[in-house]
Symmetry: C2
Subunit: 308 residues, 2 copies
């Protein structure tokens, strides 16, 4: 996929009514990031529900592409439902799903196991794909003690370690994952994503998967295979499902280094919303070299911009 | 300090009796790393005690330079004592001490606090230097929950975060340290060291401080100030204490990227021992570009080499 860099160098303009009309007419699908775009923690961002209804009423396909790996697609669909938004599993592409699909398309043997540093979402998606996940929430309360004459054992049949956001990270999991990667021949090191921080709650940001992934990079001195944004790995599945050309999609996200870069890497149009981690000053910082096609404050600006 | 690179490019030779006689006569002090050189976990490596006695009897100064920050110098002296070796606090230069000294020589204000991700050793050394350490073991059992309308509070008077090896690492500490570095203006990010793994127990290696430091790099997108090896920061204190020229010191360690590089950066002679994390094949791997002056199996080889 080509790298879309028409705006490289120039600062992105704010989305005007005219720009949005043009954008709206030129795309068939809107791809949305979730955290910081649709919701913050468990709170829906104002006006999102009406905006999504409006887009659907105009025949636009809606797709949700999230680096959040703590939930499976099924659990994400439930979360949407609990917030009053009807979204089907098929419309959701999460990095938990991407991790399972990476193993599948690379013919990862079914008799090998997968050690998970991360949430239930990864374990669930692995299981749906036919794989056995170890670790995850189950190892959240385990402890690792330094004792003489005592070996910390790990499963030699683990052939991949998947690392995602893990609020129950501990030394046990770090040692387990590190041993698998260092000692099991050919063991894969897969990162759901490398986001530094995220809006896990409405009021502030918290360390993201980039924190746990970096920890394992630090202990193993290895670099991971990244399956979430900005990697375009998920795009292949999305294209198969929706059969829309990338230039007729618009990626809407709050992060430059994952969402906007993902959109650009895939050749989509890109729109940054300022309702999440990126501030206007960060966008306009001369050190920032990732510029979306446009930016706006929040998703519900769409309604005002079209006079809907 | 000049970079000592006389052996760069050439593979290090094993230490012969002739080499060791020459080395022995040309140095006044032996600088030893501890983990993997003196002990593994709580087990003394065979013959270490007799070797240190012998070196002292021949008038050599012994200095212990360790990246292990879990203990203060006082606690390290106790550990030596419990293993039957008499070492004074003055002979120990630990990265916990280095972290406190870094703040001191940089006039870190006494009314600012220091948040610690790491062990009691860092807290103790900070206190000895007149500083108030927060976190450390005290935060080992704290949990951080994602709740709506709930702010994770942090102390705005924290002016430095010190990160070292922490077997009780958790999401609470990661969020606390991340918030201080991201939100407290001018907050320093100090790493005791960046060792990937270490022989925390006799039978195997475990994630080292490099794991926790990388996690904070991942969430803050900042690089730390490193005070332990291979940084030569500690060397200034060592020189003040012992008044021996660097070329008349020999650094003995088991790690290429911390011990040997530290010795070379400081202009010392260097000897790798294979009793810790580095294998002979790792030393001789063409991809390895750090070559000590010599290597040998273990410290007690000194006795055989001199026919003592």
């Amino acid at each position: 996929m080509e790298v879309h860099s028409s705006t490289a160098g120039a600062a992105a303009p704010p989305l005007s009514p005219g720009d949005f009309r043009e954008l709206f007419d030129s795309v068939d699908a809107f791809l949305f990031d979730c955290d910081g775009v649709i919701w913050k923690g468990d709170k829906l961002i104002d006006g999102v529900s009406q905006t999504l209804d409006f887009l659907r009423s105009k025949g636009k396909k809606l797709v949700f592409v999230t680096n959040n790996s703590t939930k499976s697609r099924k659990e994400f669909a439930k979360k949407f439902g609990s917030l009053g938004i009807s979204v089907s599993e098929d419309e959701i592409f999460s990095s938990s799903f991407a991790a399972a699909m990476y193993l599948k398309v690379n013919d990862f043997p079914l008799d090998k196991k997968v050690y998970v540093i991360g949430g239930e979402g990864i374990i669930d998606e692995l299981q749906l794909a036919g794989y056995t996940g170890l670790g995850g929430p189950e190892d959240g309360k385990k402890t690792a003690e330094w004792k003489s004459n005592c070996l910390f054992e790990h499963d030699k049949s683990v052939g991949a370690v998947v690392v995602g956001l893990d609020p129950f990270i501990n030394y046990y999991k770090l040692q387990y994952g590190t041993l698998c990667i260092r000692e099991n021949p050919g063991c894969l090191f897969i990162a759901t994503n490398q986001d530094a921080v995220g809006h896990m709650t409405d009021l502030q940001e918290w360390p993201g998967a980039g924190c746990m992934v970096a920890a394992i990079c630090g202990s193993t001195q290895k670099e991971p295979i990244v399956v979430g944004k900005p990697s375009t790995f998920m795009m292949e599945f999305l294209l198969k499902k929706f059969q829309i050309d990338c230039p007729r999609m618009c990626m809407v996200g709050d992060r430059l280094d994952s969402d906007i870069l993902f959109g650009q890497n895939a050749g989509c149009k890109t729109l940054l919303v300022l309702s999440g981690v990126t501030t206007l000053s960060a966008l306009q910082d001369p050190a920032n070299d990732i510029q979306p096609d446009y930016y706006t404050n929040k998703v519900s600006d769409f309604l005002d911009l079209l006079g809907a």
